[in-house]
Symmetry: C2
Subunit: 303 residues, 2 copies
């Protein structure tokens, strides 16, 4: 089933202990799409400036990402420059230039409005709410957010929570949003405000999925080389939502598998700069990594 994503399409410049990349494809919608497109058709809504190397997005189109909702506006594209030290869990932002993204007002093309699965990438909650007025009763809506919106747009964000089925956020954001340090309590607070599904991402320490009274945990895949963590969270979300959209099955068992697919996608994302590795992999490699996840956590009952 089609999966609609609304989010940023940016140019990233990244420095890690292992190398540098300049003005490579980035942004939440980009990483999300590069991940989800392996599993389901993706419809992308975002904006780029007149300077964006749109040709480079053809690789995404070739993998089934419909870019007809990608607006091209006069002006400069969203640029982010960041650095990671050895603790790859924490990005240091050196520069952010919003460019045309600062006036972004998502317009969902008519042919995208019936998408049964919708992911609202990390943008202003007012815009996320606005997207929801443009779509027709999706089967599942998930959103992401960040510290900036939690601080500056809390009332809108709380309103958004009432309207989404699922939220993905990292542990710091969960604590900030809920004023609860304990993640179970944070998740309960969030579920009390709307979403039936809460996914708390802990970077290299894995991810929790909370649903009602159940908790599922997926570790991050232990890699000997984590090259560039940028986009891992969006790749996770893309794998998770892509897997759900592929089958349309929202059972607990399928949700759990979706989290593992998300974790697998996150682990691929960090192996190279930008969406490079995500574009290289195929379903066979993805299935092999999912099998590796099972080996990582499996233990047998006592005989």
């Amino acid at each position: 089933m089609p999966l609609l994503v609304v989010g940023s399409v940016a140019l990233d410049s990244v420095e890690t202990p292992f190398g540098k990349a300049d003005e490579v494809l980035g942004g939440s919608a980009t990483f999300f799409s590069a991940s989800a497109c392996h599993l389901t058709p993706v419809q992308l809504v975002g904006v780029v400036g007149s300077d964006y190397p749109v040709d480079k997005l053809k690789a995404l189109e070739a993998k089934g990402v419909d870019l007809s909702g990608l607006e091209r506006a006069e002006g400069r594209s969203f640029r982010w420059r960041g650095r990671y030290r050895h603790d790859l869990n924490a990005a240091e932002t050196l520069e952010t230039h919003l460019g045309v993204f600062s006036n972004f007002s998502p317009k969902i093309p008519a042919q995208f409005r019936k998408a049964p699965f919708v992911f609202l990438g990390n943008i202003d909650p007012r815009l996320q709410l606005d997207v929801l007025t443009q779509v027709e009763r999706p089967k599942l809506v998930a959103c992401d957010t960040m510290n900036f919106w939690i601080e500056s747009r809390r009332p809108d964000l709380v309103k958004l929570l009432e309207r989404v089925d699922c939220i993905t956020l990292n542990e710091g954001e969960a604590r900030q949003l809920t004023d609860r340090y304990n993640l179970i309590r944070a998740a309960k607070w969030i579920m009390g405000h709307g979403p039936k599904l809460v996914i708390i991402k802990k970077g290299e320490h894995g991810a929790f999925m909370f649903t009602g009274d159940t908790v599922f945990f997926a570790p991050a895949y232990p890699l000997e080389e984590v090259f560039d963590p940028t986009g891992a969270g969006d790749a996770f979300a893309g794998g998770f939502m892509g897997y759900l959209a592929r089958s349309g099955d929202l059972s607990q068992a399928n949700l759990r598998r979706a989290v593992i697919y998300g974790s697998a996608m996150g682990s691929f994302a960090v192996e190279k700069f930008s969406i490079e590795r995500l574009l290289e992999i195929d379903l066979k490699q993805l299935a092999a990594r999912v099998a590796d996840f099972r080996k990582l956590v499996a233990f047998e009952e006592e005989v």
Copy 2:
């Protein structure tokens, strides 16, 4: 099969966001024994001062901990005073008084020397090495260590590595010991120096077990109330070693179950101060928590 532990027996004074405890039973050998005794007979070697409330250790004896190797020396007992803030992963040490522990020289009683399973708690590596000269070809020897010994006794510690089968240490210690940030690389470095089994504990983020080419990961059990994290690592080690000693089975499948039993014991340890909770539980509760661990990580193959 009997399990010998050599380590500290202390009095802890702890402050957490949830309460305070003064001069309660503590020390690595104490937590280890209170955990392992549910699974196998434990033989404890340690030292206390003339001021130690040895009567309180009767609860351990009643659960099968043989205290005939507990030396009583003239002087004051080992005391530790610490505090935890909301980030329960990091203890702030306020006071440490080694007392009689500073002259501790473990003497393994004749009846303990054939113990097939040996755990060398976190003491001076020279003493850990000395213990190994006193025991007779154990089936499995595991050791713990800490930053202080990594800094001050590195050559002895490296010598110890050659003589143990397993080491348990936390992620910070693993990085410090090996000068490798990546935990897979750190584990490989350690395995290259002796131990066939490396367990890297990540506190609330779970634990990795590395053996040859395999990696196993066990999450920490998500608790809504983490009351006092003191001793969780030793309780983990006690559950792990206790489970192995119970069956004597060192297969990969059994090692994995042992890690889960260790994680379960660690999760009980933090529910109350000192060894209180560890003494309360029974095998049924332990089995129930192990089952909860399965529910936490289990996902089914795709149909």
